[in-house]
Symmetry: D2
Subunit: 360 residues, 4 copies
């Protein structure tokens, strides 16, 4: 982190900045006093809140070099993290497909959709008991106990590990007891810190969706909440859950022709910035079945470690998001996506094109 003092800043003002950094963060500074005073902070400045420095008299601007999301950053963990979900690998050289119905609506629909997903080739099955909805009048899922029973039945019927979104943090134990293998954090909870803190105390793999109102740094800071295990009071370190899988789903933008703007550049960028496995969600980003197939191919070609998508045995009767669920084309989508992934194996992505670096 580099701090640039304003023209005419006094030595006392400069000293006050240095004192704050040293006292509050335990970091050393190096000062260069010339016509323009520049202070360089040594050490891991992730923990520094630049807002507090900007507020000091005489400070003109602050240039952050070390990213805030230290735990999720590749700068501190060069190798890809590979996460094991009941024997299924996520991240690194692997391509993994998460799929299944958007929500559990009934036992019949859930089992039918699960079997369709399995035959299409998914690796990890969506078994979503709860649905976060914009309006309280929309379908939000079956009664919790019944939903979890069906989730269990889906797992048994297919033999696949299951992923399920946890909305109410008080239900975590029930989810784990019901054998859910991966806990998903949805877009609307993506910055809800009590939930993130709760998940930092267990070891179960987490799929952390990208909030549609969040930028990359906020998303990776949410991952840092789960991974660091830092608790609210003071800076003592708790347990920390390193098993975080990122899932991109696009952001709100002014274009209304697609549901969300799924910025394809984010896929290679997040791969370069973070060591965590990166999925993408073609169903919730595009919001329309007619787009899902090609969007899924785009994500894989751009470097995603896999995708998570909605598969429904009868989309036109779905109680939730049927418009974006695929049916029997799921098998073709997964097959072609694996073909693209295989073709591009070995085309480095983690550090950008090695060629470019050489060219510099």
């Amino acid at each position: 982190m580099i701090i640039h003092m304003a023209e005419g800043a006094t030595p006392e003002q400069t000293q006050r900045v240095i004192d704050r950094i040293s006292r509050d963060y335990g970091l050393r500074c190096e000062t260069i006093v010339s016509e323009t005073t520049v202070i360089g902070i040594k050490g891991i400045a992730s923990i520094v809140d630049e807002g507090r420095l900007l507020e000091l008299p005489g400070v003109e601007s602050v240039l952050r070099i070390t990213e805030k999301f230290k735990d999720a950053s590749r700068a501190f963990h060069h190798e890809d993290t590979v996460i094991d979900v009941a024997g299924v690998k996520v991240g690194g050289e692997n391509m993994t497909v998460f799929g299944g119905p958007c929500a559990i609506e009934s036992e019949q629909q859930a089992i039918d959709s699960a079997m369709l997903a399995k035959s299409a080739g998914v690796d990890i099955l969506r078994a979503f008991v709860d649905k976060s909805r914009t309006s309280p009048y929309d379908y939000r899922g079956l009664e919790l106990g019944r939903g979890l029973e069906i989730a269990k039945a889906m797992k048994e019927a297919t033999g696949l590990p299951t992923v399920s979104e946890l909305i109410d943090l008080r239900h975590l134990d029930a989810f784990l007891e019901a054998g859910i293998d991966v806990i998903q954090v949805g877009a609307r909870s993506a910055q809800y810190s009590p939930l993130l803190e709760e998940l930092s105390r267990v070891d179960v793999p987490i799929v952390l969706k990208h909030g549609f109102g969040n930028d990359m740094s906020e998303w990776l800071c949410a991952a840092a909440y789960v991974m660091s295990g830092i608790d609210r009071e003071g800076r003592s370190v708790g347990h920390g859950n390193r098993n975080v899988i990122l899932c991109y789903r696009g952001i709100k933008a002014f274009e209304t022709a697609t549901r969300f703007a799924a910025d394809i550049g984010m896929i290679p960028l997040v791969r370069q910035k973070s060591h965590l496995p990166l999925l993408a969600d073609p169903s919730h980003s595009a919001g329309d079945r007619k787009l899902v197939e090609r969007v899924a191919y785009g994500f894989i070609a751009a470097g995603a470690h896999g995708f998570e998508f909605d598969i429904h045995s009868n989309p036109s009767e779905a109680l939730c998001d049927g418009k974006q669920a695929v049916n029997y084309e799921a098998e073709r989508i997964i097959r072609n996506a694996r073909g693209i992934h295989a073709m591009l194996a070995g085309v480095g992505i983690e550090s950008g094109s090695s060629v470019a670096v050489a060219a510099k």
Copy 2:
């Protein structure tokens, strides 16, 4: 709600749409069959999930007329709602100022800032025990019990009612026991349904911030969660908390020169669309003390019922968001804002300019 069937839709497809509306929502339809079939739904279509209709074969498009956020909509409640907070009125003809430090950092800072806020003329005092932060490494507040103790002391020292943000839903009882008068829902929790549902079961006034990734409809649907008291399973109606105060704070947009884009058009629009009291937050929208004063005036002139802003006894030592906190200028800001509000009293806003309607 009007449903437009595609060219060539069959009578069977049309009937299936009508059956779904009648069976699932208990609403009647009127069909017009000509070259293009159009179905009109009669009754309050707020409860209809248009996504489910769009998914039916033959449906081309759906035009929503009744807004989803029924409980918050002026169409169903023509008069302004006025909420009483320990004797202070919010909404209607009143202009109310919420202010105080961004966060409680210590007893001294809290009491000093509270006294400054009181002398500046605030009506309801910010006493924020918890802070939702992007990074787990940033300051998130004192230990809960200690924070609530100080909040109590701030209330006693000033005699003002207090507002405090509830992040962890499990702390609601502690907040109420500590005498917090208004519970605030912050931008990062603005669509977290378990928290909204919890607040629907009490009567304490709620300040519902606008999530920076949410549009107007999502925001007012969040209000409907609190107001309707509809629980997750089925459509049975619970208690419902009608005491919702809206607070606008702007959205994420591509402009980086301001912190959030606080769309001034939203102020008169939300006043027209909703009967609920509407505040705005010049500190968190502009993110810079140098802009706060004029932004506050803009909000009031545009029709807000008041504002909530950060006042700190020593901004350059603040542990959180000091850059946007005002100090002794708070008094002038409140005074001028009240002047603007008084000058514009009687210039109708609820239904748009009455002149315009006549001109039509």
Copy 3:
């Protein structure tokens, strides 16, 4: 187009709407009068300005069904348009690569970069004489005559057709005389109607970039300006230039980690909505060479007909946008992209997944 009259609209108000549609647009209406009056417009309502209808007393809302961008719409031209550029096909089953230096800086740099582009396998060569820049202080190109001379030399040296951005509409003749094969309209001119009208009077193929502040409808309406040849006064039809190639480059969004948000869902969507060839620009969307390779793959996998990207013989000496130019990796990028395109040949995109339609 369906017009929904407000509750309580009078028969006179309804008649006035019908009269306007009939008088100003020559279209017939069908009215359904029940509790809610609905007017359906028959015929091609692309020419109707819905703003003018919304303004009539009694009109509640207007639902547009026929898109405004008629000329570019697949609804009126079912087959893919394939454009011939000096023997190189663009659109349909073809994948075409446009590439070369961001700007002509000197003869040496231009020829070196052109030869590198040719050896990498580009089909159509960038020979950019003018550069549109945000700041007047940035490099905007060599003197026009000199620039066009070098463009000619690039074409001769490589034997490739050339594309060049026309900024000043008064230079069109000079461009055509210098043998430029494709005229590009840049993002900053994407809605500048005098330039679009000028291009409607020639037959040379046009690459129409997507403006970073425009949505899909605005972009395709810009294509309609070039294609329709409608002139400013009255509605008489002029020449019209049907040879329009679309080029997507992303939009401004709140994410700052990438330069623009290149919404991957737009690729299959625009393919479905329009019959025109669709390119994408991985260099200008991602803005960073380290992302260009994977973004290019993403665009092709999602269904683009090709891409246009910056290739520079010495990026670190580039006078313009060197950061996003690739060097010797260009060959690998084109090769892999062709592999992905070939693998997905025959996976329908134009009408969405045929499966999905069947599933309905």
Copy 4:
């Protein structure tokens, strides 16, 4: 400008950066070599293209301190610029209202609307001959000669100076000969450099609208195009037109309930960043007459030097944007806005709250 070299950058890499700055821009550098090398550029770094520096090997990041939009920046021109339009002052302590019909449709409509605008109290009359429209099928104005004749008649009938949008740069002379007093550059032309350059060669006052896809820096750089008179080739300085009036109209954002997001924080921010007069456009930002009144008040309270809005003698018959035009309420809007402006006279805005600076 401060340049931060990457860890491990070699002395040769550092020297190359210094050489480029010295050779290409004629600026001196100061280097600080410690664990992290930092280069400070001395002098006015507005002319430096940071993209070219970022591309040099070893460069990690660049922190811009001097803004690119030098000519428009208050840092180089501390006093407010006041522009004289045929005796009407714009900027400084003045509040000025521009108003009239969105477009000239006929002599009758134009004169009626002009007289209504005059009686409402506008200072400068909209006499818009050309309209930039998204679709070629929408109304774009009368034949040029006829339009300019009517513009002249509007001026004569009212005795007010006139403002008119210039779209086609080849019409500039005709506009000036017809006695147009202020040339407006519209949102769709806001970055079209040939038009901006053309306007730099005359002295007539310019209203430069904010492009809905542009950020503040792009907008003020467009002003710099007009003001600097720098021509395309080389850096020689031409005439330059200093009479630029800024006009804010909001940006595209994901909120669809308002037409554009008019970020109220931009008003005081642009006042602080630039010495140029600043208007705002409540009609085109809000897009709905029902919002225009309160949005206009918001802009004035936030510190705008005035506003420009649509006034039409019969909005429901308008050929263009009737929905946002006001009628007889114009008089009340102007009167109340002047009241707010007078009340806040003397509440400093140019440098932010002086109090805040003291508090630091």
